[in-house]
């Protein structure tokens, strides 16, 4: 069943009197029980895209359709969104220090959503909070309830954020770089908890780490300069990437399960300026296979958005 369907989503901000086009027409879907990964480098629009799903970007212009369980979220009032955030769609943010309230106890923060959404009374909420902390495998949860965020380690705080996001048993969980700030051993534990706890919900996981996607997700969307340049099954895209950007990205990282290489592949240049995005393919300027048409016309949208996907251009010489 399709849980979330995003159609031709565009997100832009006004910057220096110009329009900064953070997301430039993306379409994808998440089915219930499915884990979908979003990968891309900083500034590629991955965070802007998921934050606009929950309408967390007040100063932005959002166009397109975001259907959640068949209803367009962009047509909801702010009040109606309050019943969706946290209750139907949970979100785990990247920075565990900045997204917890330093003046509230852990217990109060986990219970807050439950009380706000009318799921539990104050007394019940405390009991539920304890149970949630247990579910995310926090040691000595009774003690933690009365502690403040600064008394907890980074990994522990990230577990609390996951507990909060899962409190109301949402249908969809969005996790924005949930392990980026953590050590590898802690990352492994957090990924395990996320995997276990999100098995029944849809999961949209943002990361810049392709190996995290390999472990967690069935499908992946590769973002570049506000567009999805390639999407499909993780097993296929990581072993046989079709878009030149995905190919180069995979070759630019050393892999522990592959032999050592002398030099890493680099991608020359930098991503385009989204205040004045290029006319053609956004990767054309850095692409070693670019043909004349790549700089003139945006490629058709397919599982890999690249002109070379068309048989007509497949054997053309790069210029």
């Amino acid at each position: 069943m399709t849980l979330l369907q995003v159609d031709n989503l565009r997100v832009s901000f006004s910057l220096y009197g110009k329009e900064f086009q953070a997301v430039r027409g993306i379409s994808f879907e998440v089915n219930s029980g499915e884990a979908v990964g979003i990968v891309g480098e900083s500034g590629c629009g991955k965070s802007a895209a998921v934050q606009s799903i929950l309408r967390l970007l007040p100063a932005s212009k959002i166009e397109g359709k975001i259907r959640f369980e068949g209803v367009d979220l962009l047509e909801k009032s702010e009040r109606e969104m309050g019943d969706i955030r946290g209750l139907k769609i949970g979100m785990v943010f990247q920075d565990p220090m900045a997204s917890l309230n330093p003046t509230m106890t852990i217990g109060a923060q986990v219970a807050e959503g439950l009380i706000f959404h009318g799921i539990a009374s104050k007394r019940e909420a405390k009991e539920l909070a304890l149970q949630l902390l247990r579910e995310v495998e926090i040691q000595r949860p009774e003690e933690r309830l009365n502690q403040y965020p600064h008394e907890l380690s980074g990994g522990m705080r990230q577990r609390v954020l996951i507990a909060i996001a899962l409190a109301a048993k949402p249908r969809l969980l969005i996790a924005d770089e949930p392990t980026t700030a953590l050590d590898v051993t802690v990352q492994a534990q957090i990924l395990d908890v996320l995997k276990k706890r999100s098995a029944a919900t849809g999961l949209l996981l943002i990361t810049h780490d392709l190996t995290v996607v390999a472990e967690m997700c069935e499908r992946v969307l590769v973002f570049y300069a506000g567009k999805i340049v390639e999407q499909g099954l993780v097993s296929q895209i990581l072993s046989q990437p079709r878009h030149p950007y995905t190919q180069m990205l995979l070759r630019s990282i050393p892999h522990l399960d592959r032999p050592r290489t002398e030099r890493l592949q680099t991608i020359a240049g930098t991503p385009p300026n989204l205040l004045a995005p290029p006319q053609g393919c956004s990767f054309a300027k850095r692409c070693p296979y670019a043909m004349p048409i790549c700089k003139k016309e945006p490629p058709f949208i397919g599982s890999a958005a690249c002109w070379r996907e068309l048989p007509l251009f497949m054997n053309d010489e790069p210029v």
């Binding site: 480098e41 900083s42 040691q139 380690s153 990994g155 050590d183 590898v184 051993t185 802690v186 990352q187 492994a188 534990q189 990924l191 395990d192 810049h208 780490d209 392709l210 190996t211 995290v212 390999a214 472990e215 967690m216 993780v234 097993s235 990581l238 180069m248 990205l249 995979l250 630019s252 990282i253 050393p254 892999h255 522990l256 399960d257 592959r258 050592r260 290489t261 030099r263 890493l264 592949q265 680099t266 991608i267 930098t270």
Partner: protein
């Protein structure tokens, strides 16, 4: 080239003390790249800074070419910092930032122009300010500044952690190319174990201020012998989606290991001996040093879920 003898740093926090670096002795040959890995708080950066004399050690010595640290040495040892945003003065132009060490040490060569060329920055960068550059370009400025005085030894303190993956490759390639060209010696501090394998000739794994395993890069990744190294390597997600994480590991110590192995409380293979007697670093073959009572014996990993209780504790 550079050598330490029982180098120790103890911080006083109120009435308590924290041993950030505990009696580390090692030697680096010219042209070597020692990768230093470990979790945050394991003492990696403190060690790197002590080598350069940026932090005075509590006890122990740093020897550079057999000599004790003297004032004239800084020009031969340099550092590349983690954060390319915080380590460049926002009010200085790129030309001034790179030229500053040359001015202080009254050197005429190399010129700023030559240094810009060396790290692949355009000449036009000279008159511009750090905020006009991307993270990768700023890190190139930091590298040019470090190279200005022709150092022999460079501490690279997480030089790529703040960069995007496609940019990381550019910087790592540049560092390796410069290393070859000038025969530099690096201490490469990082937490990305795949990148450390790519760049290093030797790797040291640090845990709570100590080197618990040191080996040539091939040996360490082929046969990690300390349970902590095994834990680190098995925690990394892999492209084939098959991570073989060892479990369970309890972060907070259940039993005090004072006097014993520092890793014992988290170690799934810990025996009674591990809590009582501190393992000494020993060579289990061709310069592969491990501080574990059971290293080199039959790999206990074959039974990864053995609980400490079952081992008689």
């Amino acid at each position: 080239m550079i050598e330490t003898r029982e180098l120790t740093k103890i911080y006083k926090i109120g009435k308590e003390t924290l041993t950030a670096v505990n009696k580390i002795s090692f030697a680096l040959e010219r042209g070597e790249i020692l990768g230093l890995v470990g979790e945050s708080g394991s003492g990696k950066s403190t060690l790197g800074r002590m080598l350069l004399g940026l932090i005075p050690p509590t006890s122990g010595q740093v020897l550079f070419e057999g000599q004790k640290f003297v004032k004239s040495l800084p020009s031969r040892m340099q550092m590349i910092f983690q954060d390319p945003f915080a380590s460049l003065n926002p009010r200085m132009t790129i030309g001034d930032i790179i030229g500053e060490p040359l001015m202080i040490h009254r050197r005429a060569t190399p010129t700023v122009d030559a240094l810009l060329d060396l790290v692949g920055l355009p000449q036009s960068a000279k008159g511009r300010f750090p905020h006009e550059f991307s993270g990768g370009q700023r890190q190139r400025v930091g590298i040019a500044r470090a190279l200005a005085l022709h150092p022999d030894f460079i501490v690279c303190d997480e030089p790529i952690s703040a960069l995007d993956v496609s940019i990381q490759a550019q910087i790592v390639n540049l560092l390796l190319q410069l290393q070859k060209e000038f025969g530099l010696t690096y201490l490469f501090i990082a937490h990305d174990l795949a990148m450390v394998r790519h760049i290093s000739t030797r790797v040291a794994v640090m845990y709570q201020g100590e080197f618990i395993e040191t080996a040539r890069v091939e040996d360490l990744y082929k046969s990690p012998s300390h349970p902590y190294t095994q834990l680190l390597l098995s925690s990394i997600p892999r492209l084939d989606g098959k991570r073989a994480s060892m479990r369970p590991f309890i972060r907070t110590p259940l039993l005090s290991s004072s006097g014993g192995c520092p890793f014992a409380p988290r170690c799934p293979f810990a025996a009674a001996k591990c809590y009582q007697e501190k393992p000494q670093s020993r060579d289990i073959g061709t310069g592969h040093f491990v501080s574990c009572h059971f290293a080199g014996q039959k790999n206990p990993l074959s039974n990864p879920h053995k609980q400490p209780e079952k081992l008689g504790i």
